[in-house]
């Protein structure tokens, strides 16, 4: 396929939120790691659902319900295509966090004190706390992969660590939300698979920027959030290799997930239905479907090339400011810059940047163990997306310089 032109002006124009002023300055949105903005087509799809398509799914035999069900299941097919897996391996959840909790609960009856769970210090709290709970409930041992002082992983050391500790589950992020560092997953998954460990990958940060082929990646579970991939909030995706997925115990129970209900017991439908009780977030699913269509028009290779160029440009500009320390790995990154200026508190600079219409995040980024590991109280985080322009970077850098001057 010939390389398609990546028309940044047209793309930026597709995102209505980006066309506004904040504090009398054009908005420069650099908080896409928290949530991405939404293209008009996603907003239109949600609007269209409630305007003319609203009906419950998998229930009615009437025209509206059948149409809504078709659209809803097409979204599952698209998601499966996006990750190169089967539709029956895709479960809708309310977010990546719920997807992790679903797996944690689904494993509970199988885990005991002889099991080991391996996490890493790079994880978001959502991929730490559920495993602490599972460990407390079952007696399973919870340990963490060794992380280098700069927040990267020594793959050889980590692979050995996995083989030595023989976990029943390895659960690790595809890319750090606080630093943007991309994990070299293949050798870690290979090491885990050699000892028949289950593997869960937290794809909240990686799913859009890196578009993984999950069949090739060979993990058992993969989770992500619609709202970090241009889609609406309140929707997440759990991929499970079918056997591993169907073997999980049910999480929530009720209607739709059942096969036969008697007064004292019930039988459940096979996955994914057994994990999807109650009326789902239909509007969210259709919005996400439109988000996947949008990403498809841009092509993931174009997105990655553009984002890499933009990131390199931003790094170049940022390091030129005296007193800046960057904590992100610069050579292998999804486009997130975590940094501080001298020993200034990130809160002050984030507040001042907001005055210039720049949206960044300040704090520990829901990754306290990582911040402790790096010896930091927090950082400023500028996270980029393909709808950001080189001009956004220029405005960000110039504003940052002015903010620094205000501190004197």
């Amino acid at each position: 396929m010939p390389a398609l032109e990546f028309d940044i002006n047209k793309i930026k124009n597709d995102f209505p939120t980006l066309k506004q002023s904040i504090n009398d300055n054009p908005l420069v949105y650099l908080d896409s790691a928290a949530t991405t903005q939404k293209p008009q087509s996603v907003i239109d799809a949600i609007n269209e659902f409630y305007t003319s398509q609203n009906a419950n799914v998998h229930r009615g035999r009437h025209t509206l319900s059948e149409h809504a069900t078709t659209l809803y299941e097409q979204a599952r097919d698209k998601t499966a295509d996006y990750f190169n897996v089967l539709s029956k391996e895709i479960v809708w959840t309310k977010g990546a966090t719920e997807a992790i909790n679903l797996v944690g609960n689904g494993l509970r009856s199988r885990f005991n004190k002889d099991d080991t769970i391996i996490i890493s210090a790079l994880e978001h709290h959502a991929n730490i706390v559920p495993w602490q709970v599972l460990s407390q409930q079952t007696g399973a041992k919870l340990i963490a992969l060794p992380v280098n002082d700069d927040g990267t992983l020594n793959i050889k050391q980590c692979s050995d660590f996995i083989k030595q500790n023989k976990p029943s589950l390895l659960t690790i992020t595809q890319a750090s939300n606080a630093l943007g560092n991309i994990t070299n997953l293949e050798p870690l998954i290979k090491a885990a698979k050699e000892i028949n460990s289950l593997v869960l990958i937290d794809g909240a940060q990686g799913a859009m920027h890196l578009k993984p082929d999950l069949r090739e990646l060979n993990c058992d579970f993969y989770v992500c959030s619609s709202h970090k991939m241009l889609g609406p909030t309140g929707l997440g995706v759990l991929y499970g290799r079918y056997e591993a997925l169907n073997a999980l115990d049910v999480y929530q129970t009720g209607g739709e997930m059942i096969d036969k209900v008697y007064l004292t017991h019930s039988t459940y439908r096979p996955a994914p239905a057994k994990f999807e009780t109650g009326t789902p977030n239909i509007a969210g699913v259709l919005g996400f479907s439109a988000a996947l269509d949008y990403l498809d028009t841009l092509h993931s290779s174009n997105i990655q090339q553009y984002e890499n160029d933009l990131f390199t440009y931003a790094v170049e500009k940022l390091v030129s400011i005296d007193g800046i320390t960057i904590y992100s790995n610069l050579s292998n990154n999804i486009g997130t810059l975590s940094f501080n200026f001298k020993d200034e508190h990130p809160y002050d600079l984030a507040t001042l940047l907001d005055g210039y219409g720049i949206a960044v995040r300040a704090g520990h980024h829901c990754a306290q163990p990582l911040m402790t590991h790096l010896g930091l109280n927090g950082t400023l985080r500028a996270s980029f997306c393909f709808y950001n322009t080189h001009k956004d970077v220029d405005i960000f850098i110039n504003s940052l310089k002015e903010c620094i001057d205000l501190l004197d």
Partner: protein, 138 residues
């Protein structure tokens, strides 16, 4: 309003550009004494998210007034804390409950700092002072 408060916030009130307002707030923060590390205990932390604020609200029985001291690890929040201290320090509980921090912050053009999403604990600081005052009255 007390003269201390008027004097302390005069420069913020006069600043027209937002940059100048923040500058004055940060300068005000610098005038607050640094709390010794031994006082920066977890118990004294005001629940906030992105910044740390340590605050003590005591009651001077002899004078029948509130005594508030505090510190923050950020320049801006420390400046906002200084405004709150100037607003309430040395007042009787009856005076304290009659002063609405929201109104005063609004007049200074700083109302957005009291919003929930700011996570700077300013709202919690005010609540802590008001609760103490209420407690003394009842």
């Amino acid at each position: 309003m007390t003269n201390t408060f008027k004097k302390v916030t005069e420069s913020i009130d006069k600043a027209s550009a937002w940059q100048q307002k923040y500058r004055e707030i940060m300068l005000l923060g610098k005038t607050l004494p640094v709390l010794p590390d031994v006082l920066k205990t977890d118990d004294a932390l005001v629940p906030g998210c992105e910044s740390k604020v340590w605050m003590f609200v005591e009651f001077d029985l002899k004078e029948n007034t509130l005594v508030v001291i505090g510190d923050s690890d950020t320049r801006i929040v420390k400046g906002l804390l200084a405004i709150i201290l100037a607003l309430y320090n040395g007042l009787t509980p009856e005076q304290v409950v009659n002063i609405d921090a929201y109104e005063e912050f609004d007049k200074l053009g700083l109302i957005s700092h009291l919003s929930a999403s700011r996570g700077n604990g300013i709202k919690a600081m005010v609540d802590k002072i008001q609760t103490m005052a209420q407690h003394k009255i009842s």
